[in-house]
């Protein structure tokens, strides 16, 4: 109980301390219930523009739930109830007049398993653009090329754009789905354990890609791999049991965590 209060105070402190003017996403007192079970408890978190923020924590700690609150993917489940505030660029995305479809275009998402659509490489990347009503061939080609280039995949697939996306290796598939997300020009990228099914080399390529995407995008990445979080992120948030336990600069969190729970988790102790 005491620890919790202490924790709350610290979050408050670091929040105040980090009242930067480049905060793109601001999550305030976000609680989520799944049926009767509360899966997120008063989470406070902010994302700074063009920075990578990592979410770490044990399985079932609510990382993915938090992630999905940012593009309202949780809405699809009627058993899910949300309380609190998620501001993106100063706009409350849970406001009644919010257009979910356009929100989702603003907030791109990449999933754990590489999940290209059963279509060609080109059609995968063009999918979002076509949803937007873009039909002009030349324009589509240009946008697809740009997205693939941004996802560092263009050189590998330029000669086989019309082959099936499923012919690609899983590392390439994961970069393809990033390209697919980038094609609709989002501002924020949510990555839900994007490297968990990749071999180490593909994983490093992906991390390299994340580092290059940081120049243009605000990125929130959920990962089980703490070394990965340490490598790619500027800020790291540790979640446990639906609470945001600690949120600080990555270097700080991995050398001198303030919370015992964080310490135990990242050093592999049983808490």
């Amino acid at each position: 109980m005491h620890a919790k209060k202490h924790n709350g105070e610290q979050q408050q402190a670091s929040l105040l301390q980090a009242e930067h003017d480049d905060v793109v996403v601001n999550i305030r007192d976000l609680s989520v219930w799944y049926r009767q079970r509360q899966v997120l408890h008063d989470v406070n978190l902010y994302l700074r523009e063009r920075h990578v923020t990592a979410l770490i924590g044990p399985s079932g700690c609510g990382k993915s739930t938090l992630l999905r609150c940012l593009n309202r993917l949780n809405d699809l489940d009627e058993r899910c109830r949300i309380n609190g505030e998620v501001m993106i660029n100063g706009r409350d995305i849970y406001a009644p007049d919010e257009d979910v479809v356009s929100l989702r275009r603003e907030v791109g998402m990449v999933f754990q398993r590489p999940n290209p659509f059963p279509k060609s490489i080109f059609d995968n990347v063009a999918y979002g653009l076509r949803l937007l009503g873009m039909t002009a061939r030349v324009e589509l080609q240009e946008q697809v090329r740009q997205a693939l280039q941004a996802a560092a995949l263009w050189d590998e697939v330029r000669d086989r754009l019309h082959n099936s996306a499923l012919e690609l290796s899983s590392g390439q598939q994961q970069r393809l789905v990033i390209a697919r997300a980038l094609a609709v020009q989002p501002k924020i990228l949510l990555l839900d354990e994007p490297a968990s099914n990749l071999d180490p080399i593909s994983m490093l390529k992906l991390e390299e890609l994340i580092a290059s995407l940081k120049i243009d995008y605000t990125i929130l990445i959920v990962t089980h791999n703490m070394q990965q979080a340490a490598r790619v992120s500027d800020f790291t948030a540790f979640m446990d049991g639906g609470e945001l336990v600690e949120f600080s600069a990555t270097g700080e969190l991995f050398t001198t965590p303030k919370q015992r729970r964080t310490e135990d988790y990242i050093t592999g102790r049983y808490g």
Binding site: M226, Q227, A230, F254, T255, T256, P257, T262, E263, D264, I266, T267, G268, R269, Y270
Partner: protein
């Protein structure tokens, strides 16, 4: 912070960290013996003991290399984070300090050859013995603090260094005075000063180790800070 090396999910990791810790303590123990012998050899002009100290230093050097290797192994295989990372880093620095303290002990023992007793007054020997005791105490305490990961004890050790420094200042002033009064005593006074200086360095390094202990307990770098700022409880 208590020792939590036994709480990792990986038992092998626990064992590795524990081994490193006990090796550091053994190295410290070895050094304590060396220092003790060196001070005795110096004060009693015991050449045989001095030779023993010289031989004993090789053991300390070997231990440093062993612990080094063990730490590198842990870093490579376990990618330690947070307190584990700080522990390994702290050990790295501590054993380097311990090794240097071994060298300083050798230097202290070397001073036994000088014909000091005949030239210098007895009181100054007593000062030197006292300084030796102080330094030995610091070393003992800091090793104890390391063993228990006790930041308060480490802080106390850091504070002791002031007294050692004061003693050193006193001895050097005395030695200068001897040299000024009696040119014949220059060599003896110089050796006195060397011995005191070596002891003073051992004290400094004990303080360093105390700082490492504080770092590995708290994650705060307290080097180059005024001692009074070391602890303002958060």
């Amino acid at each position: 912070m208590q020792n939590r090396h036994s709480q990792h999910i990986s038992r092998e990791f626990n064992d590795e960290l524990e081994t490193i810790r006990s090796q550091v303590l053994r190295m410290g123990g070895l050094l304590e013996t060396q220092l003790d012998k060196a001070i005795r050899a110096m004060l009693d002009n015991d050449q045989a003991l001095a030779a023993e100290v010289k031989r004993g230093d090789a053991g300390i050097n070997r231990m440093e290399m062993e612990i080094d290797a063990a730490c590198i192994d842990v870093v490579a295989r376990r990618q330690p984070a947070a307190s584990d990372l700080r522990f390994i880093i702290g050990v790295f620095k501590t054993i380097a300090d311990l090794e240097r303290m071994g060298d300083e002990s050798k230097r202290v023992a070397k001073m036994s050859a000088a014909e000091r007793a005949s030239v210098l007054p007895v009181e100054i020997n007593a000062e030197l013995r006292h300084m030796g005791e102080l330094v030995q105490g610091m070393l003992h305490d800091v090793l104890d603090a390391f063993a228990r990961l006790d930041d308060q004890a480490a802080l106390a050790v850091a504070r002791q260094d002031e007294r050692v420094d004061a003693k050193y200042k006193l001895i050097t002033t005395e030695a200068m005075r001897f040299m000024a009064e009696d040119p014949a005593s220059v060599q003896a006074a110089m050796s006195l000063m060397w011995a005191a200086r070596a002891l003073e360095r051992i004290g400094d390094r004990s303080q360093n180790i105390a700082e490492h202990v504080i770092y590995l307990v708290h994650g705060r770098d307290v080097r180059h800070l005024p001692l009074d700022d070391l602890f303002n409880p958060q």
